[in-house]
């Protein structure tokens, strides 16, 4: 089940507000399961400016490459550098240890456009 303490994109990224106002981003268990056999992860560098719904990286499995889309606009403030060498973290803990980047959001109104856990679940299970 998708945790209710965060919001989602229908392309299977999650976004969680941190206490310092930054937003952590990762991908859902549904995405990890669907990708299967992960082999490569490409994340941006700190300082990169992202736009909502635009790619911030790529994740690659044996059979496919998928773009990772940013749930909000803003600047990358932190990158989970070790994740690319520990892709198992994504299947073991997609919502906590498998976080990918943190963003300092530039447009607070974008948050409300994201899907709730319930809305995301509905879409994810229709696929």
């Amino acid at each position: 089940m998708a945790p209710t303490d965060r919001k989602y994109l229908k392309s299977h990224e999650w976004a969680k507000k941190n206490e310092d106002g930054s937003i952590s981003v990762g991908i859902t268990d549904v995405a990890v399961e669907h990708l299967s056999d992960l082999v490569f992860l490409d994340l941006p560098e700190v300082g990169k400016v992202l736009e909502k719904d635009q790619p911030f990286g790529e994740i690659e499995s044996v059979k496919a490459v998928s773009e990772l889309l940013s749930p909000v606009s803003g600047e990358v403030t932190k990158v989970h550098e070790d994740l690319a060498d520990n892709l198992d973290l994504l299947s073991a803990s997609p919502y906590e240890d498998g976080w990918m980047i943190q963003i300092k959001p530039s447009d607070e109104t974008e948050w409300d456009q994201l899907l709730s856990a319930e809305e995301y679940e509905k879409i994810a299970h229709e696929e």
Partner: protein, 363 residues
């Protein structure tokens, strides 16, 4: 979309089903790489009901097939199986097939074709049949086809068949009883392992599958999807239509001259003879890549700064623990060059030419 008779079993086993060649087929039951390793180490069971299967029967069957296929039909004695290409006049490949000569009848053959080409091949065969004295039957939907692949295959299959599998050589086939009903068994496969393909009435599909899963349990059997099948065939250096073969690729550049017998008469022979005399313009090579990114079909191959070719198939190889690809490059490319690279979207991976196949079994 056509459904395999084993659909319910796949769904129950938690398979992910995907459209493939007009059929809804299992892509995977578990992670693809684990499935591929399973077939290399023990044994796997594959649903191949999507593969097209035609029967050709009659006094003119051999002459008709010789007219259509690149291999020498006179060498395919009763009970033998050979790989062959179906070519157009210009030598481009319509499909690659296995031809089976019946064990007990001089005038009966069986042709197994790619699912995605079944309709095209059927129409092509109909067009070419003209005055040849034989009948063509599409048996795809009345026969089930499953494969057992891996070093433990014979042990598992022997438990449910009376056919002596030890006496069945590679690329041979024979009729035999499976669970008491009539079936035909070939020692063939698309994985590089020892193994069998079994053809039998579609009504027995579930019963046979379940029996093999049960008897295979002590031998480590898993059901295996098309994802792992593709990885295994590429490691074993086997062509996949749509990748190493298309209507714009001829068998000589695809490295399949061993299946083209220019001394026989078949559609496309004259064109292929000319290509052989002049030398094909490009060749298919195997590549081993550095890095973690997987090469995929269509990615450019560079020599120095120059784009010289493109990837036909690519995958992560669990047996080699690295990324591999097949690629078409110019015939005169120096294979020892150390500045070969594959463009993988915004990055480049160093590549070395390596002989095909990437993997050969040692038992």
């Amino acid at each position: 979309m056509k459904q395999t008779p084993l659909k319910k079993i796949h769904e129950k086993a938690g398979a992910r089903l995907v459209p493939f060649g007009g059929w809804n087929m299992p892509l995977q039951y578990r992670p693809i790489l684990e499935e591929a390793r399973k077939v290399r180490s023990e044994v796997g069971l594959f649903d191949l009901c999507h593969m097209g299967r035609f029967e050709v029967q009659g006094p003119g069957a051999e002459a008709f097939l010789q007219h259509c296929l690149t291999n020498d039909l006179t060498k395919i004695k009763k009970g033998l199986i050979r790989y062959a290409l179906l070519c157009k006049e210009d030598g481009g490949v319509l499909d690659d097939v296995l031809v089976y000569h019946a064990a007990d009848e001089e005038d009966r053959f069986f042709v197994v074709v790619n699912a995605s080409n079944t309709e095209k091949d059927w129409n092509w065969f109909q067009e070419q049949k003209q005055s040849f004295d034989c009948e063509l039957r599409d048996r795809t939907q009345e026969l089930a086809m499953i494969a057992l692949q891996g070093r433990n295959s014979a042990k598992v299959l022997q438990e449910i068949t009376t056919l002596d599998l030890e006496g069945l050589g590679y690329y041979k086939w024979a009729p035999g009883k499976v669970l008491g009903f009539d079936a035909e068994i070939s020692r063939t496969g698309y994985t590089g392992e020892d193994g069998f393909e079994i053809y039998f009435p579609v009504a027995k599909a579930e019963e046979t599958w379940n029996a093999l899963m049960e008897k295979g349990h002590p031998h480590g059997i898993w059901p295996i999807g098309l994802g792992a099948r593709d990885t295994l065939r590429l490691e074993a250096g086997m062509s996949l239509y749509g990748h190493e073969l298309t209507e714009d690729i001829n068998p000589l550049e695809a490295g399949l001259q061993w299946a083209v017998k220019l001394g026989t008469d078949f559609i496309g022979r004259d064109a292929l003879k000319k290509i052989k005399e002049e030398g094909p313009k490009r060749k298919l090579v195997g590549l081993k890549l550095e890095g973690k990114r997987v090469p995929r079909q269509g990615y450019p191959v560079l020599a120095g700064e120059e784009t010289v070719g493109e990837v036909a198939s690519g995958t992560y190889s669990p047996i080699l623990e690295g990324n591999i690809a097949t690629a078409f490059v110019p015939r005169d490319l120096d294979e020892t060059r150390e500045d070969l690279r594959v463009q993988i979207r915004n990055t480049q991976a160093k590549a070395r030419v390596t002989p095909l196949p990437f993997y050969k079994r040692n038992y």
